[in-house]
Each structure stands twice: as C-alpha cells, then as structure tokens.
Assembly symmetry: C2
Homo-oligomer: 214 residues x 2
C-alpha cells in the first residue's frame, strides 16, 4: 500500500493529500508529529534526509520527497484526472502559480523558520506574526494580480478543473487564515479557494479531517 | 528573439541561463538591476507581478515566470538535450533534488529576505551571515546524504549528464561560496559542481560572465 508520511497541519503534506484524493489513489497515512520533533527522528531521516514531511513510499518501495515532485510523479504515473494542462504554455503557467506559493511564500513561513526566528533571533510573537503576514501579502498580491489579469484563469487557478496550482493555493490559504492574515484584498483567491473546498477531494484532505488532527 | 530578464547574481536567473545554454537556444539578455530596485519598477512588474527575476519572454510573446517552470517549459518545447530523465522515478528524484535547493535553501537566502532581516528585524551582519549559512548547511547536509546514498547519482546529480538538479545546485554553490560557507563536509556536492563547471554551458552562465556583472 502507498503510504504518505505527513502531518495534518503541514501544507506540503496537504498538497499531496489533495493529489491522492483527486486521483482516487488508495493510501495509508503515517503521521510524523512535527511539534514533538518526530521529523528529526531516525525513522523519518531514513526516508527524508532533510527531516521534513511529506514523503511518499509507493507500493514498490520507491521513496519520494518534495511535495511538488511527488504530485508530478503521481500525475505522470496516474494521468487521470490531470493536474497539469496538456499545452506547454498552460503547464508553465500552472507550475509558475504553484511555485509562487511553494518557492516564495511557504518556505519563509514554515515551522522550522518560525522556530529559528523565535529561538535564534529572539523574535517576539508580534514580530513573528508580522513576518508571517508580510510574506503572505507579498505573495498573494502577486498571485491575485496574475489570476485577475491572465486569460488562463477560470473557476480554478487555471481553467475550470483543479491543477497543481490549486493544490498549493488551498493549503496556503488555510495557513493564512490560521495566522489571521487579512485576505479581503484577494477576491479571486478567495473565490477559487471556495470552489476547491466544495470538492470532496479537497474537503477530505483538510487538516481537521486527518487522523492525527489535534 | 527570446529574451531573459534577469540579473547576473540572481541564482534563479542563473538556472535559466544554464538551461538556455545547454539547449543551444539563442536569446537576448535584459538586465534588471536588483540592487537599484529595478525589479519593483513598472516595466518589470508588468512581466512579473511579484517584482522578481527571472522572467522569460519567448519569440511568440509568451511571458514566463518562476525559474523551474521556465526550465520545464524549455525542456518540453526543446526536448534535446533532456533536463529530466525519461522514467517517472528518475524524474521525481531530479525534481526533488532541484526543489530541495529551490524550495528549502534559496527562498530563505535571497536578497529580499536578507533585506527584511536587516531592515525590519534589525539583524546585524553577523546574525545575517549566520542565518544564511544555517539554511545552506541544513539543505546541503540533506543533499549530500541523498547524493551519496542514492543509486541514481553519477558524475552529475542524476546519472552522467546534467539535469534540472544540477541547474539548481551550481548557482546555490556559487552563492554559498560568496557568503563563505564551509563546504568541506560536502565532497559529493563539490565534485558534481566541478564537473558542471567544466561544461561550456555552465561556464558561460556564470555570474561573472554576464554583461551586467559589476
């Protein structure tokens, strides 16, 4: 059985959960508790030398890391429904939207970075929150602009079916809501998120619906 | 003519330069001076709403952002020489190695983040350097482990020809050297970097070889 090693609140694991659900792939979930530090334990490091989640171990023992690489793998091996459009220009647009979240927002705001801010830099709660919200705002302003002005946008980030871009967007919005970021300036982001959340594959992937949700 | 909007020291632009060179694609280079703030100017924002580099404008007017999305686009439209292996497992490995750099190291250490550390958080030079080196060490330790223990590694990150992973690795090593990170614990990373740098496509993409090099 394919096993996803993740954590209910990890937005990178959340992306993979959505992909698995959209494609209807049966899988086990094995929680790695990030708050308890299990990601730095021997078992997780053997799968993921960087001590992060998610990793996906396939039926045939392949160990995959990095959420976007995992989603692209799933899309290549189980092509339907497609997470990327067929045309190279559309694929480039979807990947760029996904990477705007995965390379420009999320890496700055994940747990290990917030811990470094507080621990090594002595940041207080207000400073930490301001940091978090700053990078969400920087990224979402750009994302909103791209979604508003580019012809490829539809009910979802690209067209009228969910793609890799939506898999990144929805977990990022969940995190932004958790940190009480003001999302009023991003109507397009909010509308697409609402459309995604109405789908069973997204609803079942939500952090609160996971077995390890605290 | 295809035009790359970049900056000599931007490691994301550097990745795209290597891809263009490997594939032998003629292109113009249009510098966007990040130190002068040109990335926040109207002309660049029209191409790249996030105010970053690189963006690539193709012959037929397509505007592409996000370096990995651009490289995958080039690989799909100009398949030879391939930047990704043919098998899904190999492709997943190469993407994971690339994303280890592009999602876990580089985003924490780019110019806008270092500026925030110094400006908003009041970090001094020592604190900024420690931050920089911390994220390089975290990432390179994991990358070295993966390159050492995984069968896919060869003269390059994956096998004996350059892939998307090497396109990310070499610019990151360049930056790490610039910030005087100790790379002695990463012999595999150093050997692969040496092999890459021996190739003309990598040498011509190096920051010091660019028209806007200061």
């Amino acid at each position: 059985m394919t096993t996803l090693y993740g954590y209910f609140r990890s937005s990178a694991a959340y992306r993979v959960r959505i992909a698995l659900n959209l494609k209807g792939l049966a899988h086990d979930q094995a929680p790695v508790n990030l708050v308890k530090g299990e990601q730095r334990g021997e078992a997780n490091l053997a799968r993921h030398p960087q001590g992060l989640v998610p990793s996906l171990v396939t039926d045939d023992g392949l160990v995959l890391t990095q959420s976007l690489a995992i989603c692209e793998y799933l899309d290549e091996v189980h092509p339907e429904p497609a997470l990327l459009p067929a045309d190279p220009a559309g694929r480039a647009r979807v990947r760029a939207l996904a990477q705007l979240v995965a390379c420009e927002i999320h890496p700055l705001n994940n747990l290990r970075v917030l811990k470094y801010l507080v621990g090594e830099l002595g940041a207080d709660e207000v400073t930490k929150l301001a940091w978090y919200r700053h990078w969400v705002a920087e990224g979402f302003q750009a994302l909103e602009a791209m979604l508003s002005r580019e012809a490829g946008s539809g009910d979802f980030c690209h067209g009228d079916t969910p793609t890799l871009a939506d898999l990144c967007l929805v977990p990022q919005v969940f995190n932004a809501e958790r940190f009480e970021c003001d999302l009023s300036a991003y109507p397009r982001i909010r509308r697409i998120t609402t459309n995604c959340r109405a789908l069973d594959a997204f609803a079942r992937a939500a952090p609160g619906a996971q077995p390890d949700a605290g």
